[in-house]
Assembly symmetry: C2
Homo-oligomer: 143 residues x 2
Amino acid sequence: MTRHHDAAPLLPTNVSTRLRAAGLRPTRQRVSLATLLFGQGDRHVSAEALHEEAAKAGVRVSLATIYNTLHQFQQSGLLRELAIDGQRSYFDTNTSNHNHFYIEHQGKLIDIPGDAVRVDGLPEAPEGMRISHIDVVVRLVKA
Amino acid sequence: MTRHHDAAPLLPTNVSTRLRAAGLRPTRQRVSLATLLFGQGDRHVSAEALHEEAAKAGVRVSLATIYNTLHQFQQSGLLRELAIDGQRSYFDTNTSNHNHFYIEHQGKLIDIPGDAVRVDGLPEAPEGMRISHIDVVVRLVKA
DNA sequence: CTGTGTGCAAACTCTTTGCATAAGT
DNA sequence: ACTTATGCAAAGAGTTTGCACACAG
């Protein structure tokens, strides 16, 4: 084992272990998708994009399974779901605290490191509620 | 004329004038919808909700027209579109600078006054881009 | 073996579109 | 009259669902 950054998501074995740790059976599909998702740094994917990527990688997975898997990963804390454009859902492999630039005319997302941005002056959460998460989306257009 | 707050959106005449100012013909449907939308303070509506509300108010408007109208109002700066939950679109009658609490399990939005929140530490927009708008959504769950 | 996961196709929700009719100016 | 808006129904995108078959443990 050499150095590692945040996680060590390269070998299928690690992927299997990680899935099992999340309470998910490491099936062929889940392992393949997890490898695609977590094997190349932080990324933002839509269901359709992941489906195509899997197809290109020679992995046969139905779209229904893609959706199931994305949601299971999300519920297990492996992915975070982003509501950006009201039509399509995006899933972010970076589940740590960070925010996003969104380039409107390209539908492209860029991470903003979590410790860069500070949000001040929020009012109290209403009675009986607590803040689960704050999403900051910085929308960009051509200059 | 008595006191006024930000706009004076009550009488049909005002609505018509406002529509015309926005470059939109004050048709029966647009006037009715604008009256519903702007006649009762700041609100957040989905297309379907506005459609039902119009029906209850005895205004006959097709859903297609609701969508057309919402988008026209948005493009004219009368409404702001909010991407909150990735399925449905919400439109906000408050187009000034402010942010939102979102109560996840109720799908309910609450305004946070714009001057309350300050976002610090944003990186520069990438080359050739400029920030058009920053959305802050504070997601709430049961305490 | 037993239970969970997967694939497929159909169903569903939200939204958009095409085109004939209606309405605004 | 001329032009733009509206309604309707059909089409479209994205997502979910139901159920038979497949696979992991």
